[in-house]
């Protein structure tokens, strides 16, 4: 069931994607769209200590055409 849901999500993602040209990415270039430090280091530490889960830390994302 989980695999089916994951596959469904992938299909929806791929089917729904629109090719956006670099000159159409004005909104995507807004800094808050991609900044990785919305939570400061103290908040990140609080989450890490108080939640038994781990992973999903910030990784470089692109798509805005700004790197």
């Amino acid at each position: 069931m989980k695999i089916v849901l994951a596959a469904f999500a992938c299909v929806v993602f791929c089917e729904g994607c629109t090719h956006v040209a670099p000159y159409e990415r004005g909104r995507l270039a807004e800094p808050d769209m991609t900044r990785l430090d919305l939570d400061g280091p103290a908040a990140e530490h609080v989450y890490a200590v108080h939640e038994g889960a781990a992973g999903g830390g910030a990784v470089a994302e692109s798509g805005c055409g700004c790197n």
Binding site: A9, F13, G16, C17, T18, H19, V20, A21, P22, E24, R25, R27, L28, E30, P31, D32, M33, T34, D37, L38, G40, P41, A42, A43, H45, V46, Y47, V49, H50, E51, G52, A53, A54, G55, G56, G57, V59, A60, E61, S62, G63, C64, G65, N67
Partner: protein, 422 residues
């Protein structure tokens, strides 16, 4: 022949006038108006930028200063000043970043009181550095970090690679990180007592442009941990089977001490752990606001399963202010060896359970956090975002459904941050 020479001279004359006239006109205007000269320079720079010409200095330098404070109803408080900075060159795709922070923790939590220990205060120092190089579609980032406190020392290093496809509409992400922890006891040299714990973390995912206003991403994390991460200070109360049946969630220190067995062994956790996480992220830009949301699904080989949802909606108010609400919800079920009251046999054999823990974060819990933040931009009229100050405050409540001593915890976290582009 003469006609050809005349035509050549005429062409030369027209070309000379075409080239020289703007310069002559510019020289005339230069003497009468400095403001117009400045405007021309700005126009020229703008036009150069528009046609993609490189500015003279494509290097940007960022610095961020952050001060945060945390307190909770379990008598724990933390003060965290930190600084981070970076230098980036958008033309070469090279960047260097670094950070440093200090955590000053003061605690007299119920777990400490239950072992008849006094409030303690200690400091942790942590630093990180990163070098990134992404000249074109392929990028590599190498990062290292270290953390030190009186009874714990850790270091780690990792590499992350990204590859852009379809004109940067899709980015593949892959990485590996290794970490090594040395856990000891405060006041005892690591050479006398220490435990080694290693971490290997694999990351794979993709980030893509969904439409002109939306970015979606999904990342898998697999972390392999090996070593004994049991806390050398954490003693676990033991009960007879009959007494254990009567222990209720939130039982007081006095009740536990009155009904537990005399034996109180140290915590013992499994010596390896496999952690799996999938995190999906959404970023959507509206006309004057930005929605950021993420969901993490987590499972590990100890049986802990969790869901974490985080969302922030940043509203712009003109060019100078931004305001956002923030919510975070975390729910988890316990590890498979979790017990409210552990049962052991009689002395002298005790027959202790192989695994036992009092780590509340390994038990069943739900946490809700909510708050707000405000950011004001202090740069010039032409570049207001060059400097910014932001203030954020979050309150939180955790409900523990199967724990000794406490059934809930209230907390508050606030941070003040200055960011600037030098």
């Amino acid at each position: 022949m003469q006609l050809t020479r005349a035509r050549a001279f005429l062409v030369f004359l027209v070309a000379f006038v075409a080239v020289a006239w703007p310069e002559v006109a510019h020289a005339q205007e230069n003497g009468s108006s400095g403001d117009k000269t400045a405007e021309r320079k700005e126009d020229k720079a703008q036009k150069e930028a528009e046609v993609g010409k490189a500015p003279e200095d494509a290097t940007t330098k960022h610095v961020s200063l952050d001060v945060a404070g945390y307190t909770d109803s379990d008598h724990v408080s933390v003060f965290t000043p930190s600084v981070s900075g970076g230098i980036e060159n958008v033309i070469t795709g090279a960047a260097v970043r670094g950070s440093y922070l200090v955590d000053v923790v003061s605690a007299a939590s119920v777990d400490i009181v239950s072992t008849a220990s006094r409030r303690w205060t200690e400091a942790r120092q942590a630093g990180s550095a990163e070098v990134e190089y992404k000249p074109h579609d392929f990028g590599v980032s190498i990062a290292g970090s270290t953390s030190s406190e009186p009874d714990y020392f850790s270091y780690g290093a990792g590499v992350t690679m990204t590859y852009d496809l379809l004109e940067k509409n899709l980015t593949l992400i892959g990485g590996y990180g290794y970490g090594h922890d040395t856990a000891g006891r405060s006041g005892t040299p690591f050479s006398v007592f220490s435990r080694d714990i290693t971490h290997g973390a694999f990351t794979a995912g993709l980030s893509g442009v969904y439409d002109r206003s939306t970015i979606l991403s999904g990342v898998f994390d697999l972390t392999l941990e090996n070593g004994d991460s049991s806390k050398p200070y954490r003693y676990i109360p033991m009960f007879t089977a009959a007494e254990a049946a009567n222990v209720s969630s939130g039982a007081s220190i006095d009740y536990v001490n009155a009904h537990r067995l005399s034996e109180r062994p140290l915590e013992q956790l499994p010596l390896s752990r496999r952690r799996f996480a999938f995190t999906g992220r959404l970023a959507h830009r509206f006309d004057s606001s930005t929605l950021r949301a993420e969901e993490r699904i987590y499972y590990d080989s100890w049986g802990l399963a969790a869901s974490t949802t985080d969302a922030r909606w940043i509203f712009d108010f003109g060019k100078r202010f931004a305001l956002w609400p923030h919510v975070r919800f975390h729910a988890q079920k316990s590890v498979s060896f979790w017990q409210l009251a552990y049962v052991s046999g009689p002395a002298p054999g005790w027959d202790l359970p192989e695994y036992r823990t009092g780590d509340r974060e390994l038990g069943p819990l739900m946490t809700f956090m909510g708050g707000a933040g405000i950011r004001t931009y202090l740069g010039s009229e032409a570049d207001p975002r060059r400097y910014a100050i932001s203030l954020q405050g979050d309150g939180g409540y955790t409900a523990y459904s199967d724990d000794l001593y406490v059934t809930s915890r209230a907390m508050f976290l606030a941070s003040l941050r200055f960011e600037g582009e030098l």
